[in-house]
């Protein structure tokens, strides 16, 4: 538990998202138990834990999909009392989904333009009458979306439909849709799943490159990615936060080793290719 108390020293920037004493129960099962966690500007926070530890529930609470039974959520120090998922983008939080959730019957460009909706103002009437302001704004949104696609190197796929693209590209489309929001906090739900080791290394570099623009919080199983990319790591086990600290601190925390990490770390040390074990 020492790592949990040491967390204050690691935080440098302003606190963005904060969870305080969050508890979620599904019937008799406690999915999250008094979890307190915060993430500051420019930091990368990894949330890890064995299957069923409550990582996804934690994300869902942070996104307003799951209302906590107890505890509160704060954004930049202010309490979010009735957080609904569609408020997130406006606050400056965007999230990718494990299942990608791409709009299958819209082109790649349209998919990303939906993400850019936060930057749009045109209402129903200007759309109905196709007023010049609405058309200008549409052009600006398209340019913004093309820039987001270009940043990830997938601009040439803009007119395609997601279903016709390889998984790794689809994944980048989903990421572009989250980045075009220009969030202050980016939540990544298993960003590395299904990626090759090269693609994973590229992803790691990309995430580190984002930190001058936004904070990143990610749920991930690939331990080597988490260890190399994250500034801080929070470890969940059976809905409890059992450790919080730098990768080195977490790696050596006894509670963590006992709960989860021991296996993976010894495996990673023993094998030259840590991905193979996961």
């Amino acid at each position: 538990m020492t790592a949990v108390h040491a967390e204050a020293q690691h935080d440098t920037g302003r606190a963005l998202l904060g969870l305080e004493g969050v508890t979620v129960r599904f019937g008799g099962i406690t999915a999250l138990s008094e979890v307190s966690l915060d993430i500051s500007e420019g930091r990368v926070l990894g949330v890890i834990g064995p299957n069923g530890a409550g990582k996804t529930t934690l994300f869902n609470v942070a996104c307003g999909f799951q209302r906590p039974g107890e505890g509160r959520i704060t954004w930049k120090g202010e309490q979010l009392s009735r957080l609904r998922p569609h408020d997130l983008a406006g606050l400056g939080i965007s999230r990718t989904l494990q299942g990608l959730g791409l709009f299958e019957r819209m082109t790649v460009l349209e998919n990303v333009t939906v993400g850019a909706d936060r930057h749009a103002r045109a209402g129903f009437w200007s759309g109905l009458l196709a007023l010049p302001g609405s058309t200008r704004e549409e052009t600006a949104l398209r340019e913004r979306s093309m820039a987001a696609l270009a940043e990830l190197g997938i601009a040439e796929h803009a007119p395609r439909y997601p279903g016709s693209l390889p998984y790794a590209i689809r994944k980048k489309v989903a990421l572009a849709r989250a980045l075009v929001v220009e969030p202050e906090l980016l939540l990544l739900d298993e960003p590395a799943s299904g990626l090759s080791s090269d693609e994973m290394a590229e992803l790691g570099e990309l995430v580190r490159g984002l930190t001058d623009r936004m904070a990143v919080m990610l749920v991930e199983h690939h331990m080597d990615l988490v260890m190399s990319v994250c500034d801080d790591i929070a470890v969940l086990d059976f809905g409890r936060l059992i450790a919080r600290g730098t990768p080195d601190e977490v790696r050596e925390d006894e509670a963590v080793v006992a709960a989860y990490l021991g296996d993976a770390v010894s495996h990673a040390d023993a094998s030259s290719d840590p991905v193979a074990g996961s």
Binding site: C63, P85, S94, G99, D117, A120, G127, T135, S164, S193
Partner: protein, 370 residues
């Protein structure tokens, strides 16, 4: 294919492009309505109001993913509103009467839409189906105002002087009231199509499509699901209301028997035949439903069938077309053409691109993601 510079500048803008198409549409309407015989003109008027309702429905079902089996109810609301206003001897211009029909249908659509936004798939279909059955019943319940089973006859509107002058200038004949109504219906159709095309290609339409394709991702993009759904429903109900108002003038009678469940299902049939979500598809579907029965009957007569046999040919041809479209073009007529274009474009892109990458993910991951 090289367009002149000025035309391209116009067509680059959404409004410009749709206005050009709309202007062409109005010219076509005027030409057809002026020179065709009165039977064809009344057929075109029926086609126009059916197409308006179908266009509204295809926006709701195709773009927003809400299936309504009850749009006939909104047509009934529009028709009865128009009939009551027109009979009130208030001398309101037809356009005002039609606007009244739109407003009332819009208000009812907002209420129903709020309920519909909470329902999904078969539940929404069931609820709207109940609406289609219940609303014509109200006419019997309030028979003093709405004329009960007999319905309300709708007095023909007076032809405005400027309109008569314009038609006389074009065709050297005095237009009848029914021809005036047909002009109105045709122009209204063009107007509705331009407005719906604007909305579909705007931010609003994109939000509707996002809600249709993935609710969770749409919410994360900042879209309020309920508001998007209610708005789509209201737009669609407004179209049905206008269609109903025009129907009252074209048919000249508004009675419960005109708004049976068949009418609602006809609209669904039209948009499925044409291709969900496509305005052109709604037009084609409505045209098929309006003209195919007469064509089939006429053809039967030419082939030497008796009148009764020829009349029986219409539902047969109709059913065969339906089966063929579903078998051969499951995306509807327009949808299938578009799919074929997309596939060809993808093939062309694949042929132009360098050799595919070899680091594809393991198939199990791919399955999990879908």
């Amino acid at each position: 294919m090289q367009q002149p510079q000025a035309l391209r500048r116009v067509t680059d803008h959404t409004l410009g492009r749709h206005l050009v198409v709309g202007a062409v549409g109005v010219v076509v309407v005027v030409a057809l309505m002026s020179f065709l015989g009165s039977f064809r003109v009344s057929q075109l008027a029926s086609f126009s109001y059916l197409a308006i309702a179908a266009a509204g429905l295809t926006v709701l079902t195709g773009l927003n993913g809400q299936l309504s089996l009850g749009h006939g109810a909104f047509m009934a609301i529009g028709a009865y509103t128009a009939a009551v206003l027109q009979r009130s001897d208030s001398g309101l211009p037809v356009v005002v009467v039609l606007l009244g029909a739109v407003v009332v249908a819009t208000l009812v659509g907002a209420v129903v839409g709020m309920a519909a936004a909470r329902l999904h798939g078969p539940y929404l279909a069931g609820a709207t189906l109940a609406l289609a059955i219940a609303v014509p019943g109200l006419a019997i319940f309030w028979s003093d105002l709405l004329g009960g089973e007999q319905g309300l006859t709708v007095p023909l509107p007076e032809v405005p002087g400027w309109f008569a002058d314009a038609v006389f200038f074009l065709t050297a004949t005095d237009p009848s009231s029914s021809r005036y109504v047909a002009y109105l219906a045709g122009v209204a159709l063009v107007l509705v199509l331009v407005l719906l095309a604007n909305v579909s290609s705007s931010r609003v339409g994109r939000r509707w499509k996002a809600v249709r394709d993935d609710e969770v991702a749409a919410q994360l993009a900042g879209i309020d699901l309920g508001r998007a759904r209610v708005l789509a429903f209201v737009v669609s109900a407004a179209c049905a209301g206008l269609a109903g108002g025009l129907m009252a003038f074209v048919v000249r009678l508004t009675a419960p028997s005109g708004f049976t469940l068949t009418l609602s299902l006809t609209l669904v049939t039209a948009i499925v035949l044409g291709g969900l979500g496509s305005l052109a598809g709604a037009l084609i579907g409505a045209a098929l439903l309006t003209f195919l029965p007469q064509l089939a009957t006429g053809l039967g007569g030419d082939l030497g069938l008796t009148d009764v046999q020829a009349a029986e040919l219409a539902p047969l041809v109709y059913g065969v077309v339906m089966v063929l479209v579903i078998l051969l073009a499951p995306g509807g007529l327009v949808g299938t053409v578009r799919m074929r274009q997309a596939r060809r474009a993808a093939l062309r892109a694949a042929a132009a691109a360098p050799a595919p990458q070899h680091d594809a993910p393991p198939s199990s991951e791919r399955e999990r993601s879908s």
